[in-house]
């Protein structure tokens, strides 16, 4: 559906993170760092990936949800196109995983 596939790990992780909630940069970096335990993931790297996703129209900036949050902070929201891309990527990965499972690459070996 889009020429963005396959996504880089980081891009996919960002889309997944934004799938159900809008996040600002700080929370997003924290989230991504927690996700794969890489405390060395750099802000610049994340924002560069955001920039690329923005260029391709997969994410957009949004207003902070509600008024309780710091209005200075800019939030990122997944676009409809982004959601579609993430679904397509998830389907692609899931197909690979299914194959891997059939070949006994997942979980402890049986027998």
């Amino acid at each position: 559906m889009t020429d963005a596939l396959p996504l880089t790990d980081l891009a996919f992780n960002i889309l997944v993170a934004l799938a159900d909630e809008d996040l600002h940069g700080y929370a997003l970096v924290k989230h991504l760092r927690a996700l794969d335990g890489r405390s060395s993931l750099r802000t610049g790297t994340v924002y560069a990936a955001l920039s690329r996703l923005d260029d391709e129209g997969l994410v957009s900036e949004s207003d902070p949800p509600g008024s309780e949050e710091d209005a200075r902070r800019r939030y990122y929201r997944i676009t409809a196109k982004g959601l579609g891309t993430a679904r397509a990527e998830a389907a692609r990965l899931s197909a690979i995983l299914e194959l891997a499972q059939r070949k006994d690459l997942l979980g402890p070996a049986r027998g």
Binding site: G25, V29, K30, R42, T43, T45, Y47, A48, S51, R52
Partner: protein
Amino acid sequence: MLDVCFLAWPARHRRLRGRQLVETALDLIEDHRPEGLLRVARELAGEALGLLVAGFGLRMEEIGRGFHGAGADLSRDTRLAVRVLSRRPGFTLVASLTLALGIGANGVVFSWARDVLLDTPPYERPDELVVVWNRLPGSDERIPVAGPDAAVLADRMTSLGSIAFSVRGVDGSIAPSRGAAVRHARIAEVTSNFFDILGTSAALGRVFDGGDGPDAPGGAPAIPPVVLSDVAWRTAFDADPDIVGREVRLNGLATHVVGVMPADFKLAVSPDAGVVTDVDAWLPLSVPLGSLHRSDERIIDQDSDNTGVVIGRLAPGEDLARVSEELGRIETELWDEAPTYAAARSPFTASPLFDDAVAHARPLLLALMAGVALVLLVACMNIAGLLSVRGVARAHELSVRTALGAERGRLVRQLTVEGLVLVGLGLIGAVALAAGLTSLLRAVVPPTLAAPGGMDLDGATLLLTAAVTGSVAVVAGVLPGVRSGVIARGVLTGTPARSGHGPSRARGALVAAQIALSVALLVAAGLFLRTVTALEATGPGFEPANALTFRISLRLADEYGSPAERARLMRIVEDRLIEIPGVRSAGVVGVLPLGGGRWTQGYGLPGQPEFEWQRNRADFRVATSGYFDAIGTRILEGRGFTKDEDLNEDERVVIVDRILAEHVATDGSAVGRIIGVPVDGAPVQARIVGVVEHIRYDRLERDGRETIYVPYRQEASREVSVVLRTLGDPATLAPAVRRTMLAIDPRIPVYALSPLQLYVDEAVAPRRFALRLLAGFALLALSSVVVGLYGVVALDVGRRRSEIGLRMAVGASRLDVLRSVLSWGVRLTGKGLLAGVGLGAGVAYAIDGLLFGVRGSDPAVWGSVIAVVLLATLTASAIPAVRASALSPTEALRAD
């Protein structure tokens, strides 16, 4: 800093993302603040690098998008750049050499500093590890923690999840089997959880577990298990792959090997804390920590062995502040429970394990890092100056090309490629240079400044410095091209390509700034030179030349068990050694001057009650009658120890040093007075029989503590140093000494056999090392000043050719021309010197703590620095000035 790095991003992305990005990064860095400043700095550097790399990536994409099929252009530009550069070999050589030196030196020094300051040994989550020391009240001196205190800490601390203890280590012997030749080995006893707390595992076999300690069901194992270091495994056992399970002899007793540690494992603690770090063999403590002071059934058994280092791992959610708070509380509890503690009042202090381990090296390293950063700054300025001079020279070519319709973008791209080719050349040189410098550094770096995990050149560091210098080079190279659009109009209207004074003033400022930086570096180097010479000239209280020393360890299980036996052995050792031709006298002492060990206790002034003893602390040293003569220390009053006192103990006598004598006897002589000294924890009265000159045992640059000498017979330590006063070169006697000791008893390991002078040399080594580096940096900076100044003056002359010709034509003498050209160089030098004096004063202030025997305002240093800079700059500007004055007017006028 982050803002600057953010500039690496393409403008479009910068606008879109805004400062939001930088603020997020700052917030993330802020999260690390509780972990200390070093961690914050590391994060900051990481974020900055991340920004640069990401920005570079985005830029490449933009460029890729903009230049579809630009590959052909690029290769054409590169070919053109190579041709242009090879047409000017002198310029190309100087520019790429400057780049190579700046990048190479920085790459090496920063890699090394990074290795020392940031490379933690392979522990698990090293940030959670905490080391606990006792600290002498009113001083920054660390003292090891006593075993029973460690037991109390292990019992009562909640902020530390678990606590391990390592006895500070002793020198002993290791042998593959009974009767085999022994080797010297450093042995440390550790609690069985020691390796677990650090989170390290063995390379071969296993580390200790609960079954190895005294708490194991059935008590400690009968044959103690031992874990060997990689070095011991390789040297004593030829890296035997089947070592695990074998029996080896430690201090003559049977043990069996359970594991071998990896090569990069060592306990990272500060080298000035009196704890052995290069341990060859670890044994599990066979008794509970709390009973350590009573035990004498161990392989290591000496009263002073019962102190060591406490290492803990932070419990989840706890931090260092909580640990310190808790330590303070336990301290007070201890003082309440035991009045003797209250008298000593040496508080506990906790610090991050690794921070503490490198604290001693930090000031000097920071000074060197600052120094090399200045070199990089000078190199950048120099390259900017060179390229801009060159840009002016090419302004005509560029403006003609612009006028002929070359696109501005095309020119900029070509100039960029030229700059990059130059940086590439510099980088190649830098890599070669850095490789050479690294191996040189490895060879000469003093052990206290060496990185624990070895030293490696860090490619990322090298690339980062190259990127910084490279961007300067590209910008400086491209600017003339950008300006060529403006100049083009000038060419068309016939005005020569000499465009105002602005850029030439900028170039002048660059040179002046380089002069200022060189002054600062030269001042630092000069002050270190004075420090090193002052240290070498210091009277340490003994005579380092013509003396040979070595150490022996008497820890055999079945012999030399009593002080009387050990004293008799010392007599035999001295008597036999003195028979070696070339040996004038021989003596024995517990620990050598500048040898690292110390034994500090409180003592009682005449009439002082015992609970006040801890207020006067002295270094205690055992010595035989021959010691003072052998080490070359004068007896000022009274007498030395007698041969009889070496063997028999009739009366408690001591000899004190000059400083203690002045303390004890404010009027009259100290000889004959009685002071109180602790013997095995009990107070005894001892008579002062002599006063000797003070020896600087601890550090060359300061007097250190008062010293009390007791006859070796009275406290017969199991580790002793032997000192031989020799007639000629002491090193030549080493083989004879080894043979003699082997004949006396082959089971006694002889180690650290070296001239006494070596200890003094090693004490000066870190500063001497810093001096060499700084002198190198200063020289680099000064030579680039000479090149830079020559460049701008020559350019100035070139541009004023017609003016000079005109002046000469209307009657100006050669001297007038010389003066007018020189004056511009002199003015620049003056400005540079003025700024340099300010900068140098700041540098002198900053490194004040590292200096010895010289003040930051030392007139000799400043005088010679200014003289050297003046000489160098005058020479640099005189050459083009003389050339200008030699021009013939007609020739000069024809130039335009």
